[in-house]
Symmetry: C2
Subunit: 252 residues, 2 copies
């Protein structure tokens, strides 16, 4: 296997970028590091001449970028998702610094689809967006001014992914948990929706206040890196829960 083959299984996802220049510059950043899969969720202005100009010799990557209506569409098929954020957040996924996260992503990308998600220029990723990530990735930076430009963050991530490929090609096969097939993003979303439905069916979840409960469950499942077979088992169980709840005349 080519040392850099894992890069082909990694997509970079920009959420609602405001500046078309950042989309073009991101395409260039990807291509310089041998990545080529750029996904853009609801760009404000795109296509745009500024995007083309900043893409420079990476117009091919820019033209091949996929435009999506929402993050779930952008993550379809991915089973390991990392989100960039400069801020610590309540109920966030497990935190890794960029270099460590890149090693994890390259290990995963040898046998599954990986996505790296970037938030808007002004506000970063929302709690809802971050809740779809297995990892929260932090770029070590000046604590007094950690506001990296979006395309600059993309460049750093792409660089560390390439560096992790070069360094760890030999160790790829030794990672634990590489056997079972991981659940894809849509598998997991189906499971979480099913779980919430079950919780409502049993009356455990107050219909008007789902609150942080579902978010906490989601976080746990993300951290577990659930496998496809486990999703099938859990959903079988949840079916049975809902059947039981609907059949029970005394349920709360």
């Amino acid at each position: 296997m080519n040392d850099y083959a894992p890069l082909r299984n990694i997509r970079l996802v920009l959420c609602e970028p405001s500046h078309p220049g950042n989309i073009g510059a991101s395409a260039r950043a990807l291509k310089t590091m041998g990545l080529e899969r750029l996904v853009v969720v609801q760009p404000k202005t795109f296509p745009d001449p500024e995007a083309d100009a900043r893409a420079s010799g990476a117009l091919d990557v820019l033209r091949a970028s996929r435009i999506c209506d929402d993050l779930d569409e952008a993550l379809a098929g991915a089973s390991f998702v990392a989100g960039l954020s400069a801020r610590r957040r309540d109920l966030a996924p497990e935190l890794r610094d960029l270099r460590t996260a890149a090693q994890e992503m390259i290990a995963a990308a040898s046998h599954e689809q990986v996505a790296v998600v970037f938030g808007t220029e002004r506000t970063g990723l929302s709690i809802d967006q971050l809740s779809r990530c297995h990892r929260l990735v932090r770029i070590p930076a000046n604590p007094d001014y950690s506001s990296l430009n979006l395309a600059a963050s993309v460049q750093l991530v792409a660089y560390e992914l390439r560096a992790a490929c070069a360094a760890a090609a030999a160790a790829l096969d030794t990672l634990p948990g590489a056997d079972g097939s991981r659940a894809t993003h849509e598998d997991l979303e189906g499971l979480i929706a099913h779980l919430e439905q079950s919780m409502r069916a049993t009356g455990f979840l107050h219909p008007d206040r789902p609150g942080r409960l579902v978010l906490r469950m989601r976080r746990m499942l993300m951290r577990a890196r659930v496998e496809a077979e486990e999703v099938a088992i859990l959903r079988g169980f949840l079916h049975s829960v809902i059947d039981a709840a609907n059949a029970d005349p005394h349920r709360r």
Copy 2:
């Protein structure tokens, strides 16, 4: 000592940048990693609103940047100089990849002034500019498209410098050769000019074809990381050479 104190002894030098946006974006890249010394040699358009816009919250670093007429002025006081280049060059300084070079620079910056030099957007560093560097630094990249944007290169260098600080703070004092005071850029330029003058005086150097000989000497001296005291000794010797040459009626 603060782990990040060496960053204060490192300046980043942009040679003849064409796009003011890249100057602003470079200022931002520096500040996000805790660096603050930006030097610009003969910018095409500066100051400029585009530079201010791309600097974002790093306007202070941009405003404090030093504008120079030539590279020698920009390098004054520096005793360890690294130049970025994507290309291999004939007679280039010793090559390091970025991560290794960053470790060297941080080790040096604990006790001397360090400069990192970036060439123009289109053509990079010239042979003449590279000849002033102790190291040629390569950013590992896609061999089919290694054309990084200037500010993106600055971001990667700044990031690796910060990472090297974090990783190696403890090892700073153990480096060999940290005792003798290194020759500054101007010490070394004075020595090389003196050497060339001596070579002409003895007739060793053909007046019309200095050619690559001086360049080779320069390269050797750069690689040696000459100390200030050694410069004094060599120049004392060269004085004596010139005196002797001028006194010798039979010289070629």
